[in-house]
Amino acid sequence: MRPMAQIAMVMNLDKCIGCHTCSVTCKQAWTNRRGMEYVWFNNVETRPGQGYPRRYEDQETWRGGWELNRRGALRLKAGGRLHKLAGIFSNPRLPEIKDYYEPWTYDYKNLTDAPLGDDYPVARPVSQLDGKPMKIEWSSNWDDNLAGAPAHGGLDPMVERLRRQAADKVKFEFEQTFMFYLPRICEHCLNPSCVASCPSGAMYKRAEDGIVLVDQDRCRGWRMCVTGCPYKKVYFNHATGKAEKCTLCYPRIEVGLPTVCSETCVGRLRYLGVVLYDADKVTAAAETEDEKALYEAQLGVFLDPHDPSVQVACDEAGIPYDWMEAARRSPVRALISEYRVALPLHPEYRTMPMVWYIPPLSPVVEALSETGHDGEDARNLFAAIDTLRIPLEYLAELFTAGDTAPVRSALEKLAAMRSHMRALNLGEEPDPATARAVGMRPEEIEAMYRLLAIAKYEDRYVIPTAAVGDARRLEESAVPDACSLDHAGGPGMGGNGPFGQNSGRKLLPLVSVENFHILRRRQTADTPDEAKED
C-alpha cells in the first residue's frame, strides 16, 4: 500500500443555475491576460450541448485520455512515446482556436472619435488575434440554455452515441424537458494523461495534494498535453507559447481557503476535501477491461481514513495528522464513498478524474410536476427516474460510461431524501420504507441532507493547510508579494524613485501593527533611545 492524499471536488449539479459566476471570477483571477483570452479554466456547459471546446468529448477525433492495448495495458490514445516524438513538429490532433472561439474586443474608440454624421457610430467587433474587424460566429457558451439546440443539439457526442444505440428512436424532444448545467474545471486526475503526454516533463502531479500543474520554466510548448487531456482542460497560451491549466487555486488551497470558483459559487454547490487513495492500485484500476466497471474500480482505489491499518500506513507515508483528520471529515469522501451519490465525469477515459458530480434530480422532478403529478412523492419519483429513460441514459453516458445502475441509485437516493425531508418539514412521520428502498438509514438521509441542502461553509470545505504549525507566515504568503498598483508612478505610488530608503521598485511590505508603531515612534522620536522604548 502506498497511500497518497488528494484534494478533490464534488459538484452538486442539482443546485447549479448556470449563472457562470465561477467562470467569471476564475477568469478574473487567472486568465485575464493576453494570450489567454479564449481560456476558461472553469466553464459551465449546458447539457445536452457540445461543450467547450466544441465536441471535446469526441475522442475519436481528439484522441485524449488512455486506451487499452492488445495486452490490456494502458496506452495513450494519441500514441506512444516514439509516435509522439516522431510527430512533434506538428501535432495533428490539436484543437485550433476556432474549435474554441476567436477572441474579440470592440472598437470602442469609434464611439467617441467618429466624425459627426447622420448615423450613430457603432463599436465594431475586432479580432484579438489579427486585429481586424470580424464577424462573431461562435463563442464560449454560444449554445447556453440550449440556444440553437435544434440546429446544434445533435452535435453533442453523447447524444450521437445515444442515438446510435437507440437506432434513431430518440428524437430531440427531450431538450424541452431535460436540461442541466455542467461546470467543469481540471479533473486533477489520479492517472493524468496530460502529464504522461508532456515530452518535456514539465507537467507534474504534486505529491502532497495531487494538484496537477505545469512548470512554466520547463514547458517548451510542444502542445501534446492539450491533445492528451480528454477533458481539454490544458490550454495553450498563444502569447507566451506555453501550456496553462487550472491550478485548483493552489495558493489558496495551501492556506486552507477554497478555490475561487468554489468560494464565489452562489449555488454553494461545490465541495472540497481530502481523499486518500492507494497509488499502487491506480494503474491496475485504470486497466479494468470493462468500461462500465471503471467507476467501481476507482472507488476501490480510495482508502478509508477510519480504518486503523490505513491510518498506520498513512502515518508511515508521512501524511500529516491534520490531513488525516481532514480526510475523516471530508465531505467529498462522504459523497463519493459513503453515500455514493457523486459520480466521476467520463471514467471511460481511464484518467481517474477527481472532480465528481452529483447527478441532477431536478429535471426529473420538473418533468414530473409538469405532468400534474406530485413531483416530490417518493414512489412517483422512483417510477419517473425509470420512465424518463433518456435523461438516465444521457447521464450514464457522462458519468458511468453508459451504465445506468449507479446513476439510478444516486438519483433514487436524492429522491428519497426529498421525500423524507418533506415529510419531516410538514410534521408528518416519514415513511421508513422510503429510506430502506435506497439502502439508507433515516439518520444517514438526514446527515446527507445537512451536507447537500444546508451546506454550511465549514461543512463544504474541509481543507487542511500546507503547514498548520506555520499558519501565521502562511496567512501572509497568501497575499501576493507585490501589489499591482505598487510601482513608481503607479496609482498606488508605492515606489519612491531610485534614491533614499524607499527607492526603486520594491515589494509591498506587509506592515503588521507592531511594525507600524515602531516606525511611527522612530519617525517622531527626538532621541534614538526614545525610539527603542517599548
Binding site: 501535432n91 485550433e96 504522461a196 510548448g221 498563444h238 499591482s484
Partner: protein, 240 residues
C-alpha cells in the same frame, strides 16, 4: 580578412552560442519555447513543419558526415569518390529540396495568415532572413558544382572545420574555396551564433528524455516556497 572569417569567426560564433545558451537558461527559461502558432492555423503547418524539420535534420546529418568524416575513412570502406559524390548530391538535394519546400510553405503561411503574421516579432524576421540566407547559397553551391565529381569540399572545407577543434585553424585551406561555399559558411556561423537569442533555441530542448521517464511525474512542493513565487523576468504582467 581570412584570419577573421576562418580563424576568429568560428570561435566567436561558438562562444556566443554557449554563452547565449547559459544566459538564456539562467534568465529566460520562461521565454524558452517553440512559440508554436499551430492554434492559429493547423492545415498548412501539418504539411510544412514536418517537411522543413525532417529536411533540416537530414541536412544536418549530411553536414556532419561531410565535414567530420575524412575521405580516408570512406576510402577505407571501399567507397569511391564518385560514389560518395553521387550519394552526397542526391541525398543532399533531396533533403535540401524538402527543407526549402517546407520553409517556403512556412514563410507563405506566416505572411498570409493574419494571426500568424501578427505574432511574428522583429527577432523572428531577422532569424528567417539569416535562415534563408544560409540555406539558399548552400543549395546553390551544391547544385552549381554538381558536374563530374563535384566540388571536393572534403579536401578544403572539411579539414578546416576539423582543424577548428584542435585550436589550430588552417585558414589557408579556405582561401580558394568557391565564393558561394564561403558565403554559406559565414552565414551559417552567424546563424549558429544567433540560435540562443532567437526562437531557434528550441532545438536544444529536443525531449529525448521522454523516452526514458515514467509516464506520470510526481513532484513535491518546495518547502520554502508556499503561495505564489515572486515575479521573475519573462513573465508578462497584466499591465500592458
Amino acid at each position: 580578412m581570412s584570419t577573421l572569417l576562418w580563424g576568429a569567426l568560428p570561435y566567436i560564433a561558438f562562444a556566443l552560442l554557449v554563452a547565449g545558451l547559459v544566459w538564456r537558461y539562467r534568465y529566460d527559461k520562461y521565454g524558452w519555447t517553440t512559440r508554436s502558432s499551430q492554434v492559429y492555423e493547423s492545415k498548412l503547418l501539418d504539411i510544412a513543419s514536418p517537411a522543413f524539420h525532417y529536411g533540416i535534420l537530414f541536412v544536418l546529418a549530411g553536414h556532419v558526415v561531410g565535414l567530420f568524416i575524412p575521405s580516408s575513412w570512406t576510402n577505407a570502406l571501399g567507397v569511391s569518390e564518385h560514389t560518395y559524390h553521387l550519394f552526397s548530391l542526391y541525398g543532399g538535394t533531396f533533403a535540401g529540396a524538402l527543407t526549402v519546400a517546407g520553409l517556403a510553405l512556412l514563410l507563405f503561411r506566416r505572411r498570409t495568415r493574419a494571426p500568424v503574421f501578427r505574432a511574428t516579432t522583429a527577432n523572428d524576421k531577422a532569424m528567417y532572413l539569416f535562415l534563408v540566407a544560409a540555406i539558399v547559397p548552400g543549395m546553390t553551391a551544391k547544385l552549381t558544382h554538381a558536374g563530374g565529381d563535384g566540388y571536393n569540399y572534403r579536401e578544403t572545407i572539411a579539414p578546416w572545420a576539423r582543424s577548428l577543434f584542435t585550436l589550430q585553424p588552417r585558414t589557408a585551406l579556405m582561401a580558394d574555396v568557391p565564393v558561394l561555399y564561403q558565403v554559406h559558411a559565414v552565414i551559417g556561423m552567424i546563424l549558429i551564433a544567433m540560435v540562443p537569442y532567437t526562437r531557434l533555441v528550441h532545438m536544444f530542448s529536443a525531449p529525448v528524455q521522454y523516452l526514458f521517464r515514467p509516464y506520470v511525474v510526481y513532484r513535491t512542493r518546495d518547502p520554502r516556497q508556499l503561495g505564489p513565487r515572486p515575479e521573475r523576468r519573462g513573465w508578462e504582467t497584466t499591465r500592458r
